[in-house]
């Protein structure tokens, strides 16, 4: 065997091995370069996923996590390899890299093409590339650290969202009122249940919405409606009771108009009670409707008293509710009106020294502003200047401005002059050069005509 050939074969093997080493180094470099960003992203996502799962109460330890981590890591490295494959270099390219780095004058490429001999191996074959350890290690450490943090970081577990411990006050108030109305046999059980169903509908909302604007608004509206109904019921009961009481006990003292008025009030109250939104207890309504106010003499004093007491008690009960905190307004006293009726009877049908104060709905006093000291001031005689700074919107004929001005009258002496005499030499030329020439031009003129 030719020893030279053997040497060449050995050199060829050695150089090609070096080229493979360089190729592997570069290709691994590309693989890591493509996989590292994926690893960083996966670390962040993994951190978020594990953290969320743990915060929802899932117990996650390393034993549960590491198989997943290993799988994801393997998948990412595989993806990185697939992405990097296009940039992988071949052995011949690695050979070129080696010869250019070692200043071998392309001897390796030439030898590989069988156009020259393989050069002798150098003592230290260096492909000129160094690992950038920070770029390699950083993402791996970041990935591991993210997952470790996600597993080990203490986390406050989410507690079930509980609703508020208290509910809107209006609901309890309404329930109290309805309970009281039921106890006093003012409304029926059905009516109470109907009203309670409305409250329950509000209560059935998610607790976090109890104090929302819509819920509070609906609750207040319901409460105001119930208040109005209770108040109306109290007024109707009071009116009916008062009318019956007056017709029974003071019939002799009342005038015919007053009796008719009381009868009318009774009928109106009864009609209102029948048509009330808050349904009155049927027994009570029946007992009141059974009465004939024109013929109350049939009733014994005891019966009348019992009925009156019952109505008064129910009206008082309703009024009592009306005096609770948060209730609308106050009630109106009934004895005042009776007193007025009795008083009107004395003045209106007596001797009649003067006119009365009008109907029962008319109170004393004067109409507002009738004799007021204030006068209406429309500013009719006030003049204000109006200016228009926006001339684009000015109308034809608008005055834009006024200013004082004088005509430029030439006041120099004028008259007959002798020939050849010049009175005014004029300043035209001087004015031109003083005002229209540049400083440089003035300087030139001064130099010329010095």
């Amino acid at each position: 065997m030719n020893p030279g050939m053997t040497d060449q074969a050995q050199l060829s093997t050695a150089w090609l091995r070096q080229a493979c080493h360089t190729r592997r180094k570069v290709n691994v470099g590309w693989w890591l370069a493509r996989a590292m960003p994926l690893l960083v992203v996966a670390g962040v996502l993994g951190f978020a996923v594990i953290f969320v799962l743990r915060s929802r109460g899932m117990e996650l330890g390393w034993s549960q996590v590491w198989p997943w981590v290993a799988s994801v890591f393997a998948a990412l490295m595989l993806t990185g390899w697939l992405l990097a494959r296009r940039q992988f270099i071949s052995s011949s390219q690695a050979l070129v890299r080696l010869e250019s780095e070692l200043q071998l004058h392309n001897a390796l490429t030439t030898a590989a093409a069988s156009r020259g001999v393989w050069p002798a191996l150098v003592a230290k074959v260096d492909d000129g590339w160094r690992w950038r350890w920070r770029a390699v290690g950083g993402p791996v450490i970041s990935f591991a650290a993210s997952l470790a943090l996600a597993v080990w970081l203490p986390v406050a577990q989410d507690v079930e969202a509980k609703g508020p411990t208290v509910e809107p006050q209006a609901w309890a108030q309404m329930e109290d009122w309805l309970e009281k109305l039921k106890e006093d046999k003012i409304v029926t059980e059905e009516e109470k249940e109907e009203q309670l169903a409305k409250i329950a509908e509000l209560r059935n909302q998610p607790p976090e919405k109890w104090f929302s604007h819509e819920s509070l608004n609906a609750g207040d509206t319901l409460k105001e409606q119930l208040q109005r109904d209770i108040k109306q019921m109290a007024q109707n009961l009071s009116t009916a009771e008062r009318s019956l009481n007056a017709l029974k006990n003071y019939a002799d003292q009342l005038s015919v108009e007053a009796k008719e008025q009381l009868l009318k009030d009774f009928d109106q109250a009864l009609a209102d009670m029948k048509s009330s939104a808050l349904e009155l207890d049927p027994e009570l309504l029946k007992s009141i409707a059974a009465l004939d106010p024109k013929n109350l003499k049939g009733l014994t004093q005891e019966q009348m008293k019992q009925l009156s007491e019952s109505m008064k008690k129910k009206a008082g009960s309703c009024n009592g509710m009306c005096k609770n905190p948060g209730f609308l307004g106050d009630g109106e006293g009934e004895d005042d009106e009776l007193a007025d009726l009795l008083k009107k009877n004395g003045q209106g049908q007596g001797d009649g020294e003067g006119p009365g104060n009008g109907g029962i709905t008319r109170g004393p006093g004067t109409a507002p502003l009738t004799l007021s000291d204030e006068e209406n001031n429309f500013g009719t005689n006030k003049n204000e200047a109006v200016s228009n700074t926006d001339l684009s919107r000015a109308q034809v004929g608008d005055m834009l401005a006024l200013q004082n001005g004088r005509h430029g009258v030439d006041k120099s002496a004028k008259g007959p002059q002798a020939a050849g005499v010049v009175q005014d030499a004029g300043q035209g030329g001087e004015q031109v050069w003083r005002e229209s020439l540049t400083p440089e031009e003035k300087a030139v003129l001064k130099r010329v005509f010095r």
Partner: protein, 338 residues
């Protein structure tokens, strides 16, 4: 059958006369070994060379020495503004031949192996253009008749970078025909002392003919068959491409880049350099060493770049720094060794 690529024995046999030429020329021109190396590389690559330098630096002496060492016929033409194309190529002269008068072509000085065109930029563009066909196709056409020039044929032109009044810058087409544009630099004090010691004013140095015409033709033929690896050809192509505006960062301010002829010239010169160094292949290092003399006169800068002080030499150097030998990206995980 001749192999497509030069064999080791051919390369070895070429190295002896090349070394002899190198020694002979170094005896003519002291302290200019790099210039001599490039000059030899140029003639081995069958290229024309443009020498630029101040008067008295030995440009003409070098050319004359080369012609003597190569044993080639040499003509010298001093270019002046009143020189006419016919003064270069030759003129048809009316002569009586066999009782009949007819035009007979009288060859001009271009019919030689080595034409020394001294101060070429002093001739008018019309006269300069007379050399275009001669330089590229190695023939001249006069009155419709084509006359082939002797082989080998080189034009070694000189031009003076000072006293530019009354000169005509060479047109781009002609500049492109020169393989190299070499700058002749002044000598160091030590070299000057050697010149003063060993030379006499007005006495030409004696140069022996060291290579025969046939041997030189063989050297040229061997140089053509030097192996040019594909990766080196790709490198040449990327360098020439990078000279064009927009093709590289370094080409900012370039108005016109180098032509394909420049790429061919760079490849031929690289092969010649490889032969001169006894290698069977051209390499990245050859390309890098020759890119400047091949490209610097082919890269034309725009007015703004010239005003900014940019030079074509600077652009070529920047291109060499920018274009990697291999068109491969490096992964982020690896870095170049410091």
């Amino acid at each position: 059958m001749t192999d497509a690529y030069a064999s080791d024995s051919e390369i070895q046999s070429a190295s002896l006369p090349v070394d002899a030429l190198r020694r002979a020329l170094n005896e003519v021109l002291f302290g200019q070994s790099e210039l001599i190396e490039l000059m030899l590389c140029g003639v081995i690559a069958r290229g024309h060379v443009l020498l630029e330098g101040l008067p008295g630096l030995g440009k003409t002496e070098l050319v004359k020495g080369l012609s003597k060492a190569l044993n080639l016929t040499t003509r010298r033409v001093q270019f002046t503004p009143d020189l006419l194309p016919g003064d270069i190529t030759g003129n048809p002269v009316l002569q009586e031949v066999d009782g009949k008068r007819e035009f007979v072509f009288q060859p001009g000085p271009v019919f030689t192996n080595l034409l020394l065109a001294d101060e070429i930029n002093r001739a008018s563009p019309k006269t300069q253009s007379a050399l275009l066909e001669a330089m590229q196709e190695r023939r001249v056409t006069v009155l419709g008749q084509t006359h082939v020039l002797p082989d080998p044929f080189f034009v070694l032109a000189t031009q003076n970078p000072i006293e530019l009044e009354g000169t005509y810058p060479l047109p781009e087409a002609q500049v492109d025909r020169f393989l190299f544009k070499l700058e002749v630099l002044r000598n160091s004090a030590a070299t000057l002392a050697k010149i003063v010691t060993q030379r006499e004013l007005g006495v030409e140095p004696q140069v022996a003919s060291v290579v025969t015409r046939e041997a030189f033709a063989q050297i040229q033929a061997t140089a053509r068959r030097i192996f040019l690896p594909e990766i080196v050809a790709d490198y040449i192509a990327r360098i020439v491409d990078a000279t064009h505006p927009g093709q590289s960062q370094a080409s900012q301010g370039v108005r016109f880049g180098a032509s394909p002829r420049a790429a061919l010239s760079l490849a031929a010169a690289s092969k010649a350099r490889a032969l001169m160094n006894g290698r069977p292949n051209a390499s990245f290092e050859d390309v890098q060493a020759l890119a400047l003399p091949v490209l610097n006169h082919r890269v034309l800068l725009d007015y703004t770049a010239r005003m900014d002080g940019k030079t074509s030499v600077g652009v070529v150097r920047a291109i060499l720094a920018e274009v990697p030998v291999q068109n491969l990206a490096t992964p982020r995980t690896l870095k170049e060794a410091a």
